[in-house]
Homo-oligomer: 329 residues x 2
């Protein structure tokens, strides 16, 4: 049997197909009795409006794109995307939008995203991730694609970010308070992505303020890079007495390297992460870290994007971060 259309409903209810449309879209001037008859027919026939037809006629698209930027999609081996995306989808559905997901790589091929937008596969996007270059961003803005930035905070954009500087300051404070005097931060050192920059600068500044040594070691957010960074540090002449992973994965890699180096944590060296994913509670020792409320941020981002689509300009937002002290530092 062919799918039921609006005209079928109209016929069943004994009204014109227009009236059905009016009922569906909550137009004011419909007799209550007529409306009830139409509603009954809709239920009876199990009618569902055809999205594509509606979108075509209304020249508007009710799909939002959640775009993850800059990383090898298969290599984000932590729950970051899970958390961001599930909150994103739940929030979007609550507002009547559906969600599609896209990836843009570090190589920066934006063509597929552009094409999908121009084909009207989605109406706007949240750009998620720490490694979107400003050149890429400018390109995207040139398409007049409604955009909200997630985990970036750049001028002249709508963005949802976290107070990485404050989080990092709290962490440095904690290490200093537990007697550390020589800290090392594992972080992508050449990465211009704004959260890296923010963490690096806040780290160096906090170290300076406390009058302790602070140095940067390269990492690429992976467990393995945290492990390697730790080894490199101890292969050098003046190993630090505290190592800060730029995220929980690198912190965990460093933890494991400390074990292999015969170092006791936190006795010999303090180690911390950044994210507070569940696994940070189950490492040995459990990871001291900074909690990032990814889900809340994602929900904010969706609401902001919907506002942008409606022609508004929502305020950018910076959520506060809190330190979670466990065993490792």
């Amino acid at each position: 049997m062919p799918p039921v259309t609006l005209r079928d409903v109209a016929r069943h209810a004994g009204v014109s197909h227009q009236t059905v449309s009016n009922v569906l879209n909550g137009h004011p001037h419909v007799l209550a009795t007529t409306r009830d008859r139409v509603l009954a027919a809709i239920l009876a026939l199990d009618y569902h409006p055809h999205q594509a037809a509606k979108a075509l006629r209304e020249a508007r698209v009710t799909t939002l794109c959640c775009t993850f930027c800059g990383h090898d999609p298969e290599n984000i081996d932590d729950p970051y995307r899970n958390l961001v995306q599930s909150a994103f989808i739940a929030e979007a559905q609550g507002h009547g939008y559906s969600v599609t997901t896209a990836f843009i790589g570090e190589d920066g091929d934006l063509a597929p995203l552009r094409q999908r937008f121009l084909q009207r596969q989605f109406g706007g996007t949240v750009l998620v991730g720490t490694t979107l270059t400003s050149a890429q961003l400018r390109t995207i803005q040139g398409w007049s694609l409604p955009t909200v930035l997630f985990d970036h905070a750049l001028p002249d954009t709508v963005s949802i970010s976290a107070d990485y500087a404050a989080g990092m300051a709290a962490l440095v404070q904690r290490h200093v308070a537990t007697g550390r005097r020589h800290l090392a931060l594992i972080i992508p050192v050449a990465d211009p992505g704004s959260t890296s920059v923010e963490r690096r600068e806040a780290f160096l500044q906090a170290c300076a303020q406390h009058g302790v040594q602070g140095r940067l070691v390269d990492g690429d957010w992976s467990y393995a890079s945290g492990y390697r960074a730790m080894q490199a540090l101890w292969a050098g002449d003046h190993p630090p007495d505290a190592v800060l992973g730029g995220n929980d994965r690198m912190g965990t890699g460093a933890l494991r390297a400390a074990h292999d180096l015969g170092l006791a944590v936190p006795a010999d060296v303090g180690i911390s992460g950044f994210d507070d994913f569940q696994f940070a509670q189950f490492t040995t020792p459990a990871l001291t870290t900074v909690r990032i409320p990814h889900g809340d941020m994602a929900r904010h981002a969706v609401r902001a994007l919907i506002t942008v689509l409606g022609g508004g300009t929502p305020p950018s937002r910076v959520v506060p971060l809190s330190l979670t002290v466990r065993e490792s530092a």
Copy 2:
């Protein structure tokens, strides 16, 4: 400026709009010179076909749904979804399909999924997850929604699964070979989801074959449940000498509990996982586990779904699993 349509291209190229359509859809009978002119116009005007219009006319939808079943979406704190979904999206895009993501909870509210399907928001779905009930599945099949099962293997369905029985047998074999005689498997004990059943039964059978004791302890796939299960085991009278986590998270939770219990791993007790996510390499000690090729499975599932959409009946598939021996067992 209004978006450029097919008629604009036609005008620019000096042909009828139909000819443009023919060129776009690769219809055979178009003069090469005409085609080139049309192609040039498309490029010049930066034309992109309107998806919704195309879908409406062709009565076919080029969106696939990736449905995750049965878990609290925000609580899958491992990279399972990352891995499945990124491979899924990459494969789908390679075939010209876009992807939308849905969740269905354990409470079993299928209405939103059904509504989205009836509104033609997607053409078919892969059902991902271990806790879809067969009642839910039958309901979904009743909608004549083209469906492929992922991580299930039920009769009369197209499914992509893994050889969990063989993987579990290899793991038990390994524990027995390292001298263990009393094994415990942490797994949702009452879960009727087929991969749980498969793992449980294969475990019990392998233990029987080797003539060793095998028992089941309840867990819910989370780190915390692995931790609790381990504690419960050692609170009892006859603790085992090997503990098998039903997944890597529960294995990791058990590892941490062993540490807190003052147990040396693997000297006092062997511990293993199941998945082989990256973090299994960085626990202390590193987790012996069974590698599941989630990405490959996801790619198979997409191809199978596209075949189903085309009216075919692809064969179900069971991928082989391999043991990864590390330090913990």
